[in-house]
């Protein structure tokens, strides 16, 4: 049998992920003097940032009542106190500077006057502070892409990071990538590898993210010995499109944007009613009502649907306030267009009820990082949705955009530093790259077996039903057993139909399956270990929040088994816990 061919290359910094976190890391690493290669799993514009409404929380000074302390406090409140306080503080402090960076790249933030930004509210915040631009995530990704072009940074489209390679001390020394456009393996030896591959929304049957977000980077980090934090917390956007199938699950943001609460934190958000016309959210949050945080709203809606009070199509109804239509059209014309095309004119004008359902949106947990975006595995840097701890148990709407800019930049800086220090023999690990590539080709040879899309659907259904918005110990245990069965008996039988190596979607999905299972397992295991309800994590067998559980669960792979450990929350005054762990390998 001929040896799997792997083309070796070298770079200082290898970045996986073409969203804003990856791109911002590329800019920062390049500007710090490093040679950068960025891997995009598909065409470079296919990423989650692109799909975002581009709302950007930052303290600009334009709202005299608002301060970075208030933003920081809102972040902790929303996160139910289990955020990494240091990361939350950094987010609040650096968000505005990064917004100005985007301005310098050519993004024209919406304004009320020539130098005054326009601001709106999001659900859960206490002050009006959210910036935005009419071109949303599209504009953000475009201006950043052109910054990469300007610096001559190499972007490899259709390159899926399949795994990282570590030396005998456990330091990450390179990344193995599959060039899907050719079906060829490339091994990039690097001084540092940045994981900015986004979240795991595709783990769920109904999700808002792009098809490529199968948690690849998080799984790769886990397999390399990295610690994950808060992985049991998955944010569901409360409202998303119910139909048509291609649009199902695509975010409609929050009820706050469809009512006068859009401008005034004390005003009403759009009302949500079940098939009896009842405002069921009042049962869950009588104070903030439909202006509540995403976790409360998503759960409320899911429970209505599960208890049979949803619409025939499987959603609930949102009653928008037509008074905000003119503003909504001006700020978010793309959303109005989608409402028109998917639902109809009445809905687009915010004059008719809009059918909505919750959908998996954002991975709150992820790789455990310190303020420099380093994790416990040397040579591995993580930023953006793939990292955990910034937002705790629930993220504020509008906080992901600043997160990816702030921590994307920090990741790039750290990567350039680590690459400079490292003068190791990366190329000598080519053998390990070959071995891993050979493993990942196993499914191509099989003539009999099960197709990856079928296995993916099973995982997605298990996650949606049991590790989603509504959880309990029994179902979580069952799910872990189902995952074990899939891993041991089904995964080894996965086959691909196509004999072509070029753009072999089934092969890509086969690689994704291992990642999905790794994360799914980690999510189910840590959900089982947290006997309470907090933020996005809701357990019917433990429906109250337990103050003893104001702590984080750290997940780590050790000798093939998952280790879940409870650790104290990282407070502001603590020395970074990562410093102790650097060098300690599984």
């Amino acid at each position: 049998m001929s040896r799997t061919e792997v083309f070796p290359e070298h770079t200082d910094v290898l970045i996986a992920g073409s969203g804003a976190a990856g791109m911002r890391a590329a800019i920062a690493a390049h500007d710090a003097g490093a040679k950068v290669v960025l891997l995009a799993k598909g065409p470079r514009r296919a990423n989650h940032t692109r799909m975002s409404g581009g709302r950007y929380n930052a303290v600009s000074g334009l709202n005299p009542g608002d301060t970075t302390d208030a933003f920081y406090q809102d972040t902790l409140d929303s996160g139910a106190g289990i955020n990494n306080y240091r990361l939350a503080r950094i987010l609040a402090d650096e968000a505005m500077d990064r917004a100005y960076d985007l301005e310098s790249y050519g993004l024209a933030w919406d304004r009320t006057d020539i130098r005054k930004y326009y601001m709106s509210m999001t659900g859960g915040g206490t002050f009006v502070r959210t910036l935005g631009s009419v071109d949303e995530g599209i504009g953000i990704t475009e201006v950043m892409l052109h910054q990469l072009h300007k610096r001559g940074i190499r972007i490899c489209d259709f390159h899926m990071l399949a795994d990282v390679v570590q030396d005998d001390d456990g330091r990450v020394v390179g990344g193995l990538a599959l060039d899907l456009s050719k079906g060829a393996w490339r091994y990039f030896s690097a001084g540092a590898v940045v994981i900015a591959t986004g979240g795991t929304s595709q783990l769920y049957e109904t999700s808002s993210g792009p098809a490529i977000n199968t948690g690849d980077g998080i799984a790769i980090a886990l397999r390399a010995g990295a610690e994950l934090v808060d992985i049991e917390f998955m944010q569901f956007i409360p409202i998303s499109f119910v139909y048509p199938p291609s649009a199902r699950g695509y975010t409609l943001t929050e009820p706050a944007h469809y009512g006068m609460r859009h401008f005034d934190p004390k005003a009403e958000a759009a009302h949500l009613v079940n098939n009896k016309g009842e405002r069921f959210v009042l049962k869950h949050d009588p104070v903030r009502r439909e202006g509540s945080t995403r976790d409360v709203l998503a759960r409320a809606i899911m429970l209505e649907i599960l208890e049979g009070r949803g619409t025939p199509e499987g959603g609930v109804l949102m009653l928008p306030d037509s008074k905000v239509f003119e503003s909504f059209l001006k700020e978010r014309p793309i959303y109005v267009k989608r409402l028109l095309e998917n639902y109809g004119e009445g809905q687009a004008r915010l004059e008719a009820p809009i059918q909505v359902m919750p959908s998996a949106l954002y991975t709150l947990g992820g790789v455990r990082i310190d303020p420099s975006c380093r994790c416990n595995v040397p040579g591995l840097i993580v930023g953006g949705e793939a990292a955990g701890g910034v937002h705790g148990a629930n993220r504020l709407g509008g906080s992901s955009m600043p997160d990816i800019q702030v921590f994307g930049r920090r990741a790039g800086i750290a990567a350039a530093e680590d690459a400079k220090e490292y003068a190791g023999a990366g190329a000598a690990q080519l053998e390990k790259a070959h071995a891993r590539a050979a493993q990942l080709e196993a499914c191509i040879g099989r003539s009999d077996g099960v197709r990856p899309p079928d296995v993916k659907k099973r995982i997605q259904k298990l996650m949606w039903d049991h590790v989603g918005l509504v959880r309990n110990g029994e179902k979580l245990t069952e799910t872990l057993a189902a995952f074990r069965n899939l891993r041991e008996h089904v995964l080894p039988t996965v086959k691909v139909t196509s004999k072509s190596r070029v753009l072999n979607r089934e092969w890509m999905e086969a690689l994704e399956l291992e990642n999905l299972l790794d994360i799914g397992e980690a999510m189910a295991a840590s959900s089982l270990q947290r006997p309470e309800t907090r933020g996005a994590h809701y357990r019917t067998d433990f429906p109250e929040t337990d103050p003893n559980w104001t702590a984080n669960l750290i997940v780590r792979r050790h000798a093939g088994a998952l280790n879940v450990e409870k650790k104290a929350v990282v407070m502001l005054d603590q020395a970074s816990p990562q410093r102790e762990n650097v060098g300690a390998i599984a």
Partner: protein, 126 residues
């Protein structure tokens, strides 16, 4: 319902008539017709009136009738009108007049068709 214009519904693009394509094809065809007409007209007039071509003229008595066919006139006038007006529409756009491609297309086609139709009516004595 409020009167503000909504963004377009672009989910049936492949079912719509492609105005730019139709306009361009018509502009090319009408341009070719005009050029062909000028060529033919010059030759026919030469044959009919230049003494040197008298024998050829005698051999082709149908040349006179050809010039009097209403459909020949109608097509020719439509082509001249369409080519001119569409050309003016392009010019107007470049000078800063905002014209919607759909409205402009139909306006030009209808006016040109009317001019063509006028020839048919004129020959019919109306």
């Amino acid at each position: 319902m409020s009167k503000t214009a909504l963004p377009r519904n672009t989910t049936r693009q492949a079912e719509a008539m492609l105005y730019g394509e139709a306009a361009r094809k018509l502009h090319r065809v009408s341009g070719a017709v005009i050029i062909l007409f000028v060529l033919v007209h010059v030759i026919v007039q030469a044959v009919r009136h230049a003494p040197i071509f008298a024998t050829a003229n005698a051999a082709a008595p149908w040349l006179q009738a050809l010039q009097e066919q209403n459909w020949v006139h109608a097509i020719l006038f439509f082509c001249i009108a369409f080519h001119t007006f569409y050309g003016l529409k392009l010019l107007a756009g470049e000078l800063g007049f905002r014209l919607h491609y759909k409205t402009a297309f139909w306006a030009v086609v209808i006016v040109s068709a009317l001019i063509g139709l006028r020839e048919v009516l004129r020959y019919a004595g109306i």
